[in-house]
Symmetry: C2
Subunit: 710 residues, 2 copies
């Protein structure tokens, strides 16, 4: 046991970056020209034009978003720099270090989203081209595009955190206790989470405003098919897929990874035994790092047979293989790096306790994914029952769809409760953080599959818009169908890890606030629980209405173009795609202001005015109802979507039953792609904000009480 | 201060019963004959026939329901008798006394519901007859019918509890401490709550199965108007109004009143000072008793001018007047009966602390009522915005309606959090129970107004079915419109009081389990919180699907009658109303089994297997998400209903916009009349079950641990 974990983490993260580079090269080496595709020059230039427009739109959104992020982060950096000051550590400028960590986290997260979008918007058209040859080729291109995101993001996240930890340990005097250092490292998580706020909430509004806008005017009013180039919102719709599922999902999972690790570091460093053993201290990072080679091995199994009729088993196999392999890897990594036992507060944690925590998180993630599929795939009874009930009209479809979502939350919540119970019992609050890390330890595989979805979806859209042969669209449809299911599973997974991460951050916050226990039977805590419990509902209302309003703006613009551009509907004139992209971008960023303020200010206001106890209640309350709302909105949405698809597959379009199903699907759009995923951010961001700002809340609250003479 | 509170409570409750008798006489003295009404003999016999059918249907449901209740209560009585045994009180057969209290509570609650249904089904046709004369007369009959329920129920509840307390104090040896006696009295609340389970859940399914069934086949398929006698489900629909809003609401509020009082008695009696002073001990009962004369005075202001164009201000005035007067009464009652200060656990509670608790509850109820009206009446912006958005189709209507409900919960939850904070801070857990009692201290007025609704609604239905002159229907419509708003307010009020009551029971449960504090940062508690948080969602799904399935049965039957009874649609043959009534009754009672099992067994299973700590977490979690779900489903439903009505009023029926609004209204039906109100029962029943069975859970759990060798 001569080797330290540091080189191992370093090697793994560099391996991840090299793999990302390899996959990127695989994708980009495919030329978009007629020679290598056999398509006519005409078609090639059309393909280039369309994918160029999507790419341009995606970058337009990102650059706008980053302007907001930059402005916002600047304000936050200044705030962190000035208000964070811990009297216990007079020798260190806590604000400065926290600010450095914050900026690093925000920048790395932004870079990940940028690279992910770049490769996805290059991979989409190449998937289309590969689909002219075979389904196997097309699958490989889409999968490789996803893998760039999966491995690139994981590598950068692990490398970034390792760098910050080592840098701070180097710069900060040795006299300062490790746990103070880790509290400053936590700024990294806050940085990642801030970007995720814009990515998930802003991106979520963008994608559904464009989708709903395109559908309601294009499909319903004008009667033109999905992805028809005459629809002015069609490019915005395709951009939206990337904005939501690449940039948004990436930032969300980056946040979970960074925040869970920060939480584990903050809690772990309070134990003298861990703080004194760098290998054991960096154990959380090691788990994430070890996941990288595991996911690489897993990726080698991702092959599709030439005559494949469905892609789902392959993708599902990825999750199962990575989970099984990861279990073994975790066992060895824990036995190698973790010490026999250590004291944490008043309890003694054993190595096996830590192992149990990590494994329970990992397998709970699997279970949540499985239940998500059961409730959202039309291979199972719930979606079929929803589809069957649709013949009684839209109202019954809505009732069944909502019920499906509510019910679907039961088993995942019990799984989360069980994980919480196991890890907390056997490894204290450190265990909770480690269970979150366990759940996202296969993040590279998860992200690969997630990012695969919008690439396939876009590939189909591009094939449609470029009017390629029907066979091409059929192949991309096959790819896309699997993407829908894995997107739902990915969402369940993201929610599960967000809850555990938020709980870990909550634990770290309590550790930092020196709460050994928190009496629920206190007026402040209980009042906080009530108010916290209502926040996810308010936030859901805000984000749903935001989509409604943003979609309205899009509807007005599409109608205007149909009216004012002569020959557009006949296919003789070109639509002004850019205006639609600009409208989506602008309204998404505007509409996210209100929910963002809620998330950012609720903990601030409660923490300063009512104190840290009330804030603890607020956070716990928001978790308790937030997890159910997130799961049920995502799964209702997924259920409605697939019930509609099932009806289309078995009975076709145009019937009253199908119309009823379309109503559910439209309600489900903001449910599953805006409100549900955004709740992840609500839970995590409120918790990490509280963690980072604890000392400020405490001093400001005391000052306030004194000023009021209380 | 020579008089004891006992005669005062006694006099007030007898006053309530006398008033109920007076109001009943006022209603029943109105003859249903052609002489006193000026209607033809033909019309009179038609009126008698219709109202007879409704009355018969209502009694058919009640008698079926009571069979279930009786069987269920018998099992429960045996269970209570055998498992409740407190080793601390060897001289008393705790099971026996608890069982006596349980049966008494169940019987009184059933009697109240029975009497309420009797008077409502006699009052409806008399309101119709009075409406042939003037709106003032009609209003008075409907109001008086409601008052019978309001005062009768309050009087019986207070009298019943006084009797049980005095009886137990008389029978049980003086050596037994008062708080043990009060723990046995708590069985009374459980009895009331059990009846409420059947009334609210079974009744809620009944009313909406009949309503949705009647509407979907009658209005939508056959194209005949609401309340048309050709519709076979029309009597079931009218019966349903009574079943839901008279029997269900009555049992719910009876439960809140009984349970909150029991909680206050259990907690209060742990204080030696209160236990030693009968006046102070019975103070909770005194507050409910004093509400009776206050509500009687308030009722004298319930007059409608002859040329009145709306009834809402009169009814709203009732709530405001009773709240203002009650505030004064509470002040004097508290100064009279409550002692200067007393010790409760480790805190000292002052008289002013108690006063603050009661008043905060009373006024929080007012605020919740006000906010409910703001969000569900089409006089305000939220419903108007929902109506306006309906022109973009049913999906947007659903999105806006759900958002409206989510948003509407924010202020009420903050009000509840504030009340919790104030009462808990100033009067400990006793304060929480007293705030609940404060909120329902004007219950007689609240119930009067609630019961007024279905009477007016039925009166309109009867006028329609008997084909009375248009003017009559217009007058009853005027009465009914106000009933809709007050029904929404009543629901908000019932939810608020249910939450506070549940919280009070939770406090009493913790007191009985000897929890001085409950560490939220324990694995068991937190896991319990998570699982508790998902229960309201599961319960909502169950009750919504129950309505869906029950309505399907009704739809099949109505279609069958239209098909098989020749001449029915032409009005030449008579529909078989009884079969529809029988179907509603049967399916409602069948469909309530699953949600009932959830409510009854969840605390049992968790308490015995995981222990009282986990159960505490479960209860708290179910409250945190339950209150938001209850408020938001009720208000979404109310909003959809009134948005539809607003569109009908301003733009008429038949447009696409109206159709979209009908979709929302249909989704809202089970939301507001089944799932939302049923959640009250979920919250309260789980809490009182836990309170009553604490000693059993503790001993069974210990036994289990030993058996497992843990």
């Amino acid at each position: 046991m001569e080797i330290s974990v540091i080189p191992v983490i370093l090697v793994c993260s560099i391996l991840a970056l090299l793999s990302a580079g390899y996959y990127a090269n695989q994708v980009l080496s495919l030329k978009v020209d007629s020679k290598s595709s056999g398509l006519s020059e005409d078609k090639i230039s059309r393909l280039k034009e369309i994918s160029g427009a999507i790419s341009e739109g995606a970058m337009a959104f990102l650059s706008q978003e980053y302007k907001y992020v930059a402005g916002f982060a600047a304000v936050f950096t200044i705030l962190i720099f000035f208000v964070l000051d811990n009297s216990a550590t007079p020798d260190v400028n806590e604000g400065l270090y926290s600010a450095i960590a914050f900026v690093t986290g925000a920048v790395i997260s932004s870079v990940c989203a940028f690279l992910g979008m770049r490769i996805a918007t290059a991979g989409n058209v190449r998937t289309t081209i590969a689909a002219t040859k075979s389904i196997t080729d097309a699958f490989r291109v889409a999968f490789n595009s996803g893998a760039v995101m999966g491995f690139g993001l994981t590598g950068l996240a692990v490398l970034g955190m390792l760098a910050i930890v080592m840098l701070f340990r180097h710069l900060i005097p040795e006299s300062i206790e490790q746990h103070y250092i880790m509290e400053m490292v936590a700024g990294f998580g806050l940085g990642g989470s801030t970007v995720a706020l814009f990515g998930r909430v802003g991106g979520g509004i963008y994608t559904k405003a464009a989708d709903v806008g395109a559908d309601l005017v294009g499909k319903v009013e004008a009667g033109i098919p999905e992805d028809d180039p005459r629809n002015p919102a069609v490019i915005a719709d395709n951009v939206g897929d990337n904005v939501g599922d690449i940039a948004g999902m990436g930032a969300d999972l980056f946040g979970s990874c960074a925040e869970a690790t920060c939480a584990a570091l903050v809690i772990g460093a309070t134990s003298a035994a861990l703080a004194g053993n760098i290998d054991a201290l960096l154990y959380p990072l090691l788990i994430s790092a070890v996941g990288i080679p595991i996911c690489l091995i897993t990726a080698m199994f991702a092959r599709l047979k030439a005559n494949a009729t469905q892609v789902e088993p392959t993708l599902r196999g990825q999750l199962i293989i990575s989970t099984v392999l990861m279990s073994v890897a975790i066992y060895f990594a824990t036995n190698w790096a973790m010490i026999d036992s250590f004291d944490l507060g008043s309890m003694t944690v054993t190595r096996n306790g830590v192992l149990a925590s990590v494994l329970s998180g990992l397998w709970a993630g699997m279970l949540i994914g499985y239940m998500t599929e059961r409730y959202t795939s039309h291979g199972f009874k719930h979606v079929r029952r929803l589809a069957a009930a649709s013949d009684k009209g839209p109202a019954i479809n809505i009732i069944y769809g909502l019920s499906l979502g509510y019910e679907s939350a039961v088993v995942p919540v019990i799984a989360i409760a069980l994980t919480t119970y196991i890890s907390w019992t056997y490894a204290g609050m450190y265990g909770i953080a480690m269970s979150a890390i366990g759940m996202i330890s296969t993040i590279a595989t998860g992200l690969t599959i997630d990012a695969y979805g919008p690439v396939s979806d876009n590939a189909g859209g591009i094939a449609e818009m470029a009017e390629l042969p029907k066979q091409v669209r059929e192949r991309t449809d096959l790819l896309d169908a699997a993407g829908n299911t894995t997107a739902a599973i990915g969402k369940g997974f993201a929610i599960g890890s967000a809850v555990l991460t938020a709980l870990a951050l909550f634990a770290a916050f309590l550790t930092r606030a020196h709460f050994e226990s928190l009496n629920m039977l206190s007026p402040m805590v209980f009042a906080g629980l009530f108010v916290g419990g209502v926040l996810p509902f308010l936030f859901t209302a805000q984000t749903m209405l935001a989509v409604g309003r943003a979609a309205e703006g899009m509807i007005v613009e599409v109608r205007r173009q149909f009216r004012e551009i002569p020959g557009l509907l006949e296919g003789k004139a070109k639509a002004d795609y850019r205006r639609c992209v600009a409208i989506s971008t602008k309204s998404a960023l505007q509409e996210m202001i209100a929910p963002a303020i809620l998330v950012l200010f609720a903990p601030m206001v409660v923490g300063v005015i009512f104190g840290v106890e009330a804030l603890a209640g607020l956070l716990a309350g928001s978790l308790i109802s937030g997890v159910v709302m997130a799961l049920s909105t995502s799964n209702s949405g997924g259920g409605w979507d697939n019930a509609k698809k099932y009806i289309e597959k078995t009975e076709g379009k145009g019937t009253e039953k199908h119309k009823a199903a379309v109503v559910g699907d439209t309600v489900g759009d903001p449910f599953k792609d805006t409100s549900g995923p955004s709740l992840n951010i609500l839970m995590k961001l409120m918790a990490i904000l509280s963690l980072v700002f604890v000392p400020f809340f405490q001093s400001a609250h005391e000052w306030l009480l004194q000023a009021l003479g209380m």
